[in-house]
Symmetry: C2
Subunit: 315 residues, 2 copies
């Protein structure tokens, strides 16, 4: 395919490298001249503007932060190709979406950022949510992207934008707020810094993320983050109340056991392969069951997938 990548940070830069390595014709663009220079020096065809980058391509990948998306989309009103993005919140993007748009979110990251940190193998094995809205997303477009991304090694997870946003609030955005709250205890508290060990180190690791980035993730997904925070705050208030129970240790043990068992059973080890018809409902059922697409058949009528064994037994 002939593909434009707009935004050449860690994700966009890695995608430029991975797509070129997979034999696609790529053109890159970044708003920052120094980044364009870096990418050109690395040997990639780089355009001087968004219209130049997208001209004549089949697919444009928008790898810019959410606040920059509307301005870039303005350049794409007459674009006839397929469009996808990589931002970490999908509801707001769905609402901006031009025709032939399929929202995506690669769950890939590193402590580092920028084109200098980009890596052609970044997506190998990573979960990549590709949004599928019943009655809205054109299935052929979704399958084209799924075929492209699975060939980069990604595990393509079909979910609606709303489902995606709820789940990332749970597994990523709210954990960042928890980490920040815990890290905040170090203020004017030198013995805490000395006694903190493994549980604190791991529980606060992502609090070292740039504050702007955590705020953008959570602020961009505010509705889902508020819902999940409400659930978790209620859980924590319940745990606190158990500390006043007649036998707090017994009460807390009972209350904590399900979470302990869930954590011990994660990550799910027993995923099994399946061949599925390439239909919107079947794909969404797969994503909701915790499965993902590993390949799309040449004729686009079936997909290869992995899904939890327990789900296969249930269905």
């Amino acid at each position: 395919m002939d593909i434009a990548v707009v935004g050449l940070g860690l994700i966009g830069g890695s995608l430029l490298r991975a797509l070129a390595a997979a034999g696609h014709r790529v053109t890159g663009y970044d708003a920052d001249p120094a980044t364009r220079e870096q990418a050109a020096t690395a040997g990639f065809p780089i355009a001087a503007s968004v219209p130049d980058a997208i001209a004549g391509t089949d697919l444009t990948v928008l790898a810019v932060p959410l606040p920059a998306l509307p301005a870039v989309l303005d350049h794409l009103t007459a674009y006839r190709g397929l469009i996808t993005d990589v931002t970490s919140v999908k509801g707001p993007v769905r609402d901006l979406a031009p025709p032939r748009f399929v929202g995506g979110h690669p769950m890939a990251g590193k402590e580092t950022s920028g084109f200098a940190a980009s890596d052609a193998t970044l997506f190998d094995g990573c979960a990549w949510v590709l949004c599928l809205e019943p009655g809205v997303t054109a299935l052929p477009d979704w399958l084209t992207l799924a075929a492209l991304l699975t060939r980069l090694g990604a595990r393509v997870v079909p979910l609606t934008a709303a489902e995606h946003d709820r789940v990332v609030a749970q597994v990523s955005h709210v954990p960042h707020l928890f980490a920040a709250a815990l890290a905040g205890q170090l203020r004017d508290n030198p013995p805490a810094a000395t006694l903190a060990a493994g549980s604190f180190r791991d529980g606060t690791r992502v609090a070292a993320t740039r504050a702007e980035l955590i705020a953008a993730m959570c602020g961009g997904n505010a509705a889902a983050v508020k819902d999940e925070l409400d659930h978790l705050l209620a859980d924590l208030h319940r745990m606190r109340a158990l500390l006043d129970a007649p036998d707090p240790v017994a009460a807390l043990t009972t209350a904590l056991r399900p979470a302990v068992e869930l954590r011990r059973a994660w990550p799910v080890a027993d995923q099994v392969p399946a061949e599925l018809p390439a239909g919107t409902d079947v794909l969404l059922d797969l994503g909701r069951a915790g499965g993902w697409v590993t390949a799309v058949a040449e004729d686009r009528t079936t997909v290869s997938a992995m899904r939890p064994e327990t789900d296969r037994n249930r269905s």
Copy 2:
């Protein structure tokens, strides 16, 4: 010294090994016959009862869980030697304390437990709180223990029991409750299990701890855990409210920045050596400043210590 170790799980077993390796005469005891057998097979002198284990010793280390402590202490009413313990909460133990008791808490742990997991090098570099209560703890006893433990490689941190309990609630007990709350989101939520990655893995790691152990830590330190939970719940409610601000991203960025900076500055890298007079107030000031004792002088009048450089500049 002639030392009895009562309780031969991970900590007690490791201490038996470390003290023997340091040239002390050790005797072990565990309530579980199979554990006694294991330790005897490993070549250690093992007694058949608490009275047999402690007879004629200079020091008894109680390495049993908090609920088992009172029954063991009943055997020690006529004991003339020094007594210490290793439980993770110090206020309740202080209140049970017999004469010549100095409460301790090695901040050492592993995913594994039991004598089979014990390791003579477990305490090398670990922070070991040794409680020092002004007007109560006999300084010579404290210094005897500090000398012993620093020779095992431990960083001996002087704090009162109340200070210890507050800090471990912050850096260990409450982080376990946060991890459990986050892990609980996996319930009936297969896509969360699939999309969860680094931030979830680290933020929930300690939720795989046995529920009984988390409950015992938090229940045993209920007052401090409730206080710290209240602070953190208030923080999280404030963050939630910021998501409704006119510019939530800007508001959250400002609110999160101090925690991000605190986490990035941790662990404190610039500890500097100091020689200090061995007085109760000086030692407590050291612990409160985030420092620790690394050695006790032969004549017990001074200690070698490490403390944050910033503190030295301040003092």
